[in-house]
Symmetry: C2
Subunit: 406 residues, 2 copies
């Protein structure tokens, strides 16, 4: 297949590119390299030393003999070029990662909110409009997030995309209606993924576009079978307060003898998936495209759920690190249950990597190995969800009002 | 109150401005005048001769002694100026009409789709972000549309914004959950209003913004008590295939002896409201603001429902016009029922103008009076929802495959 990976320079994009190339597909990377620019803006860098995308592609060719093509293109701002590219290359499948993906970054300031909505919504919609206009029949696979559902629900298991509800019709009879599972996003970033869902529903219905939306959990881990093949193919690893996801941050904190920072009670339950499973899921989703005219296919892309404080204790157990409870800069429930259905990927043959087996390797092979590259000043999470919360955190940055270090 | 009317130069915006000014409020118009630019793009003009917004404001001052302030500002593209304006003027209420509002225009081409999503989504989101950032406590009243719900449902009465559904929790108990009534928009334009709903839900929840969303039916009629006061205060009246709404188009067609063009079987049922009731509803909604932290208040802003072919027959009955059935350029169900709850506005004292009482006046005072200004070539509706439909309409523009002229 000819596959376009939009955002193929990013944290999940890059290993996806390699995984699909390794399977023998012709892979094209379309990226505006905005994630590298944001590193520059924030003054942070990947823990793992990361070469330019052009250099990475060169190395992959050298190691495997397989070519990757990189195209510098801004989906949100270059509609005409995007349409032209699609019309010329006519990909069979498009994997769409090309969105600003950090909730804390999206809540940093009004400028960051405006950027995130503008970038993400226009990127997705431009892509859909260009697919229709160029008349290609590509399967679109989009990376969404479990976070669209929020985490303060009635505690029901989250199904895969749809919910059957009963509605009383005009004759007073009960009728079943299938609806998109209602979203309640908790950040501007998550909100944009909720908007995407509406865009997909419309273009599948009006234009028969074939779309799969993957509602992904928090991705952890660094290496995949392909990124291991050469030091310069290594994946990025973010540990800063904005882009670092919770588990990666704990690993780093342990490696530099920084307390593992749990925000609030740590009773928030989240869904997780290892990067290796993430790229495998994309392979499985690609092979299971909906037909034209079918509703959007939605998968929950996650393999296990954990409370944040339990993760901290797990990492502390392996590394001997201590755990610190800090004020929560997010507006969210202190405690929540989370049960997620992922039957579809399991049925398609996904065989998950568990935290239990993968965690120690991350500590040794990544966190300790690159510990000398860590900038301690970038570890705290400082983006607050509202001005009130910002003031509260500022008054008590060490969370003295909470129970202290455990 | 100090009230900002965003999009105050438009079809419902302008009479709202006058209505609120007449009630004694200090009214500011913020508008980028895009609707006038689109007239230029399409080569169409309002049936009623329309002065510049500056001249209209001058006339209103002359007639009533009341000042209106006009500010040229592009919500979607000038975030910083918008935030600055809000911080300086600190309005008590904001009425938000500032979106591209024609479904056919939004489906004209990929450029029009991209423009509509970019403009509408950024306009609404910029406004929300700027309200939070400037720290004002204004009540936001937004003009949405009944069309977010689509028209091919199970035939249930459409409630005002929310739906109670039953969800099974982890213990297997049935629990009630209130969700936004699920949307299924039928055009890119309607889709943007569905996106707006998600934006409102988030900002009400995260930042405590006080928001009312009015899901309006199709507006008909021209005059309000205020626009009648001077010839130069007259409201705009669109009759072209993109911006003309169905009833206004029938009136014009009758006035120039053009057949009343029904698309498809005319079995589509739509919700309607007179422009006078529309501005009254906004007054009522303003006086009934939600509290901070409350969910978004949603009203259905309509007063009656009719099938399109029945409207055509009604206008034909008054005027002697004939009715022509043409192929439908839209992708929609040929026939649908529609029952809409509007209990909230009735309870607040709305006393609807019925088609029965208002229609003849429109025929005489508007359609016949300005018939000499009609450009017949602009009457056909040519924007097709998909390329397939466009080809079908092109092959059979007069709908010979359908039953012919009645």
């Amino acid at each position: 297949m000819r596959i376009a990976v939009l955002g193929g320079d990013g944290f999940v994009g890059w290993p996806t590119v390699l995984h699909l190339s390794d399977l023998g597909h012709e892979v094209h990377i379309l990226d505006n390299l905005s994630r590298r620019w944001i590193d520059t803006e924030l003054g942070v860098q990947s823990l793992t030393p990361m070469d330019s995308i052009q250099e990475r592609c060169r190395i992959w060719k050298e190691v495997t003999g397989r070519a990757l093509q990189f195209h510098l293109l801004d989906l949100a701002r270059e509609y005409e070029r995007l349409r032209g590219w699609l019309a010329e290359y006519r990909p069979d499948a498009i994997i769409h990662f090309a969105e600003q993906r950090a909730a804390p970054y999206s809540m940093k300031s009004d400028r960051h909110k405006v950027y995130t909505v503008n970038n993400n919504t226009n990127a997705t919609h431009n892509l859909l409009a260009a697919m229709v206009e160029s008349g290609i029949d590509a399967h679109l696979v989009h990376l969404g997030t479990m976070g669209v559902y929020g985490y303060s629900s009635v505690g029901a298991a989250i199904p895969e995309g749809y919910l059957d509800v009963e509605i009383e019709n005009l004759e007073g009879e009960k009728k079943d209606l299938e609806i998109l599972y209602p979203t309640r996003p908790g950040s501007v970033y998550h909100m944009t993924k909720s908007l995407d869902q509406i865009l997909f529903q419309f273009y599948a219905q009006n234009d028969g576009l074939r779309i799969t939306d993957l509602h992904q959990g928090i991705v952890w881990g660094t290496h995949t079978d392909q990124t291991r093949r050469h030091e310069q193919l290594i994946n990025r690893f973010d540990y800063d307060g904005d882009y670092g996801t919770v588990l990666n941050r704990f690993l780093i904190q342990a490696a530099i003898d920084y307390p593992l920072t749990v925000h609030g009670s740590g009773g928030q339950t989240r869904a997780f998936i290892h990067i290796q499973d993430s790229v495998r899921c994309i392979e499985l989703a690609l092979a299971d495209a909906p037909a034209a005219g079918e509703r959007v296919k939605i998968f929950n892309q996650m393999t296990e759920t954990h409370r944040v404080r339990d993760l901290a204790e797990m990492v502390a157990g392996i590394t001997g690190a201590r755990v610190a409870y800090l004020p929560n800069p997010r507006k969210e429930a202190d405690e929540n249950d989370l049960v997620v259905k992922n039957d579809q990927f399991l049925a398609l043959g996904l065989n998950p990597t568990t935290l239990q087996e993968g965690l120690l390797g991350e500590v040794v092979d990544v966190a300790r190995k690159y510990a000398h590259r860590i900038d301690r000043s970038r570890v705290p999470a400082v983006s607050a969800w509202t001005k009130d919360i910002a003031r509260r955190v500022e008054r008590d940055p060490e969370g003295k009002a909470l129970k202290s270090v455990s």
